[in-house]
């Protein structure tokens, strides 16, 4: 009951935010929401299925570039976002078939190399991606459902609401997912792969399902980026960007539902504050993560829940 009230007040707060917040705050909030979706998807693999991926930025980039290309060719926001997610889904399904054949460090290395492959594509395939210039001049196209609805996206607060709705929907679906039989199956695989196979479950198939969903979440976060920034450049595919959901999730807590969301908020705010004092903000953030991992294995959320909480 208390949790519900807290969630409800948070949603109301986010809904009325544009009434008093300036553009910059909205911009930051959008980025926090994107990192939340990105991290949630990452944690489906890590916290729920037991697979540590270092290549999620690759799928983020597929979503971002996919959405950007669609918007440049056909200015409809929905088409861009849905197209971006679908492309990321296809990419993660195909690469997933190769990656999920292995677990632990081997899986992590595979995801890292495929992620970097996507980065190289973004960097070198100049005709398609614009190379190191990236894609520019991406319109923040109106949200259009022919014959039904047409919303102008030029004002930041309008686009903020689009991101908010997509994020809340993604978070809600994620909550349903991890508390469903499918979610239980994934957690079983995380706890004991052999045991899961010996109760009649094909471990590989479900790893692939998990990998694909995680890729689509990364794709959604990526697809929401180009209309905000109006450019996409190769760094969004770089492995160092794959570390952001890893750090955010470790900050917030891997075995809790809300961990990645809380972590994304902390990550972004810490970064935003520390960066004002020093460009070496990653050192400070690293120190904070170190303290958390050594002292509070369950992340920030577990401190409030009491240790061992599973959310």
């Amino acid at each position: 009951m208390k949790t519900r009230l807290a969630i409800l007040s948070l949603i109301i707060f986010l809904a009325v935010l544009p009434a008093f917040a300036g553009k910059y705050l909205l911009y930051v909030t959008i980025h926090i929401l994107l990192l939340s979706i990105f991290s949630l998807g990452f944690n489906l693999l890590f916290g729920y299925t037991g697979l540590l991926s270092f290549g999620q930025a690759g799928f983020y980039a597929v979503g971002a570039y996919g959405c950007a290309k669609i918007l440049l060719a056909y200015p409809s926001l929905l088409a861009g976002i849905i197209g971006g997610v679908a492309l990321a889904g296809v990419a993660s399904l195909v690469l997933g078939i190769l990656c999920i054949r292995h677990t632990r460090i081997y899986f992590s290395m595979l995801t890292l190399s495929f992620g970097m492959m996507i980065f190289s594509l973004a960097w070198k395939w100049r005709d398609m991606t614009g190379g190191d210039d990236g894609l520019v001049g991406i319109p923040r196209a109106p949200l259009e459902i022919p014959g039904l609805l047409r919303l102008n996206m030029a004002p930041m607060e309008n686009y903020y609401y689009v991101v908010l709705v997509f994020s809340l929907l993604a978070i809600y679906l994620f909550h349903r997912l991890v508390h469903s039989p499918l979610g239980l199956t994934l957690q079983g695989i995380r706890d004991s792969e052999t045991r899961t196979a010996c109760v009649g479950i094909s471990v590989r198939n479900y790893r692939l399902v998990s990998f694909t969903i995680a890729g689509m979440y990364a794709g959604l976060a990526g697809a929401l980026l180009p209309p905000l920034e109006s450019t996409v450049t190769p760094p969004v595919a770089h492995w160092s960007f794959s570390a952001e959901p890893v750090l955010a999730t470790l900050l917030g807590g891997i075995y809790t539902f809300s961990g990645p969301i809380v972590g994304a908020f902390l990550f972004y705010v810490l970064k935003d504050i520390i960066v004002r004092f020093t460009q070496y903000w990653l050192i400070c953030l690293g120190a904070i993560v170190l303290v958390l991992v050594l002292g509070f294995r369950g992340g920030v959320v577990s401190i409030f829940q009491g240790k061992g909480g599973r959310g």
């Binding site: 679906l173 349903r176 997912l177 508390h179 469903s180 039989p181 499918l182 239980l184 199956t185 957690q187 079983g188 995380r190 706890d191 004991s192 052999t194 045991r195 899961t196 196979a197 010996c198 109760v199 009649g200 479950i201 094909s202 471990v203 479900y206 075995y255 061992g308 599973r310």
Partner: protein, 250 residues
């Protein structure tokens, strides 16, 4: 009497070592069978081969007359072959209840549902509750399984194995590493399960009192091969078995 599983010339070799060599044996449906033998005799390897956890290097396995030699373990569970492990193998971060619910959902082919809540799976929930009662873990229902005592974890392991509602279930040393009181509890449970369920149980066990009081059939292994098999009385009086394994204790 009907055979439930049969092997022909089954072999598994780790380098020079023959863990299982030329094993031809048959399990009869409804027989409580014990597999005994000294350490390193190949008992666990045999179970690993039969349950699909390892693939054999030679020979064939038939389940009810159908060859299953290279069938994947998850498929074998679906056709009715389940197992427990010698080394603890439960889901430590899931609750005790969820540990049982997962195999039940899998058996009902409902474990892939992405958006329905666990509690909405009425049939599976009821069955999982029933099995929880059966293995005496009702009160531990909502604890993370990793927090259970060793003995209770072994009970849970049994619960997971039978939750698949198998026709044939291998129990690999269900009472290993337990104190005498826990041991009695687990073996009573095994007895109860074999009486109440229509499951053919095959058990690896070192406690000879248990083996001889429970079994309808005993298979003795030594150095990867079957040394003898037969009714408890025949095994007890078999001179070769006494020499290599039983000694004079029985």
């Amino acid at each position: 009497m009907k055979e439930i599983i049969r092997t022909e010339g089954l072999g598994k070799y780790f380098g020079e070592m023959a863990a299982v060599h030329q094993v031809n044996f048959t399990l009869q449906e409804g027989f409580f069978t014990s597999i005994i033998g000294p350490n390193g005799a190949g008992k666990t390897t045999l179970i690993n081969l039969l349950s699909g956890y390892l693939l054999p290097d030679a020979g064939k396995i038939f389940f009810r007359g159908t060859e299953i030699t290279r069938m994947r373990p998850e498929k074998r569970v679906k056709i009715g072959i389940s197992r427990s492990f010698q080394v603890m193998n439960i889901f430590p971060r899931l609750t005790v209840f969820e540990n049982i619910l997962l195999p039940v959902l899998s058996r009902l082919n409902k474990n892939a549902r992405p958006f329905s809540s666990l509690n909405s799976q009425k049939e599976a929930v009821e069955e999982a509750e029933r099995i929880l009662n059966e293995v005496w873990l009702r009160e531990e229902r909502d604890l993370p399984a990793g927090q259970l005592s060793h003995g209770d974890q072994r009970l849970l392991e049994l619960g997971i194995a039978v939750a698949a509602n198998p026709q044939l279930c291998f129990l690999d040393e269900p009472s290993s590493g337990m104190n005498p009181i826990e041991r009695i509890k687990v073996l009573e449970l095994v007895k109860k399960l074999s009486a109440e369920r229509k499951t053919t149980l095959a058990i690896v066990e070192h406690d000879m009192d248990v083996v001889f009081s429970l079994s309808d059939w005993i298979v003795v292994m030594n150095r990867g091969e079957i040394l003898a098999e037969g009714k408890p009385d025949d095994i007890r009086n078999n001179q070769e078995v006494r020499d290599i394994y039983l000694g004079e204790e029985i």
